[in-house]
Symmetry: C2
Subunit: 300 residues, 2 copies
């Protein structure tokens, strides 16, 4: 079985369920709370593990209590954390997340500016059993490092483009596949229109897509922009849905599927995640995705 | 020296410093983070301790890690936590707080519906050295219990009216002094106008006021509504300012000051708190308040 390496940020998330998003500088009461690990790359790693993939996480954390909780949470899910560096005197990343009745979420996160830092301790070549690398924009130097190794061995290098990679823009060229969020594509191109944003990207080697939640996935197929609709579900909590999508997409590529089939698999996994509260705690198992697709779930 | 009892909620607060309040269901990065104890009554207790008062906190917490952190944080500040009940299987309250560049804050909090629960373990009479009781609306049964004891011994019973006390509305009658937030007064009276809201309250035994931040304090003085302006400061973080105000106000009453002098003292303490980031971590010492007032600080 191929192994996936996920490179980037891991956080401790406090997920508050609220009636509606705050509109005034006042006090709001949450009706539910989940404390879980989070972070784009770490959530994708958990999604991959639940979908039956072998997965290792590379990133850096402080030598603090939240850091201990993050690693314990990832290891409970079967994510190999041998690649996590602990750095004394730094704060592990924390996020507060609000999820409203419509399942929409606001994420507020704090990352120590000194983390994750240096790539000096990272491996200099990719182990033979690695079938894909997934990197996020929170550790662009780390993603760039692993994307170079992936290019050398010819395995997919997937970038989760949840924002423009301004510190290391070369990750856009090093990646074989870039899947933006709508926010990330807008951040990079200045365009609020997903099709126009994709069309404005230079014709580089990478395959480009943008995930838009219930609006489905737009992707560049040669010179045209194609669209794959999302599955219709009752969304309870979209937190971690994008991360689940990226993890499932990288796993499907590592298993040898084509991009369109990988989109379909990833969109099913993300749709199932949205039906459950608690961020990445709601990521589905492989069996659940198989049942969902076998039951005749159809894109909207 | 008189002792103050603070009755109500204690939380673990994660305070995120953000550029501006979230407007979309997207991701936002904080540029600073403080993890500290919070909660209306507990913050007031810390403010009293810093102002040189003797203070005990009564409330309930889970037997969990956040509960341990909350008690350690209060005891470090000199707050007596012998009155805190720990309840197995319950979650201690957590809050996420966003503070923007203008110093405005949004508080999102989760409290276990089973906490703080029963008043059965509370003392049946007030110790002789207690000079005032301060209660919040998060544990209305506890506040009502201590307000009754305060009435028996004739010491001030101050309610922090940050929302309408719907479960135990009798606290409004049992309190000798009720100081609302603008949100609490609106919640109770339906009026967005502070003067009109105060005027609409029934002429019960309690003394009523509403604190409005930079807008100063409105209070019922006989049949008229009087106003005491706030001190002008460069606000960095208003989180915990109301709690600081209530703690300082109760302390001043316990020291035998009249209401108008107590408002002035409390407003100076709250103004100084607003000049520092980190929620109640920014509450001032007695010496700082004395210097601020002696330096000729004048209400706006």
């Amino acid at each position: 079985m191929a192994r996936i390496l996920c490179v980037g940020i891991a956080t401790l998330d406090q997920v508050f369920a609220v009636e509606a998003m705050p509109q005034r500088a006042e006090k709001y009461r949450a009706h539910d709370l989940a404390v879980t690990t989070g972070g784009t790359a770490a959530n994708a790693a958990v999604a991959i593990a639940r979908l039956g993939g072998k997965v290792g996480f590379f990133g850096a954390l402080g030598e603090d209590r939240p850091g201990d909780e993050i690693i314990a949470g990832l290891e409970r899910e079967g994510v190999d954390c041998a690649g996590v560096r602990r750095i004394a005197g730094r704060k592990s990343p924390l996020s507060a997340i609000l999820v409203d009745r419509a399942g929409e979420r606001v994420v507020i996160s704090y990352s120590d500016p000194e983390l994750p830092g240096s790539t000096a301790a990272l491996p200099r070549s990719l182990p033979a059993d690695v079938g894909a690398v997934l990197g996020d924009t929170r550790w662009q130097a780390g993603s760039a490092h692993f994307f170079r190794l992936a290019r050398e061995t010819g395995v997919p290098a997937v970038l989760d483009g949840d924002r423009a990679p301004r510190e290391h823009p070369e990750v856009l060229e090093l990646a074989t596949h870039v899947a933006f969020s709508a926010q990330g594509l807008r951040d990079l191109t200045g365009s609020d229109d997903c099709r126009a944003g994709l069309e404005s990207l230079s014709r580089s080697a990478a395959w480009f897509a943008v995930t838009t939640g219930a609006g489905g996935v737009f992707f560049r197929d040669g010179d045209i922009v194609a669209h794959e609709p999302a599955f219709t579900v009752e969304a309870v909590d979209t937190l971690g849905a994008g991360d689940t999508w990226h993890g499932a997409f990288a796993l499907a590529l590592a298993e040898g599927r084509g991009e369109r089939a990988a989109i379909r698999f990833a969109s099913a996994a993300a749709a199932l995640k949205c039906t459950r509260f608690g961020g990445r705690d709601g990521a589905p198992s492989r069996a659940e995705v198989d049942v969902f697709l076998a039951a005749g779930a159809r894109p909207a």
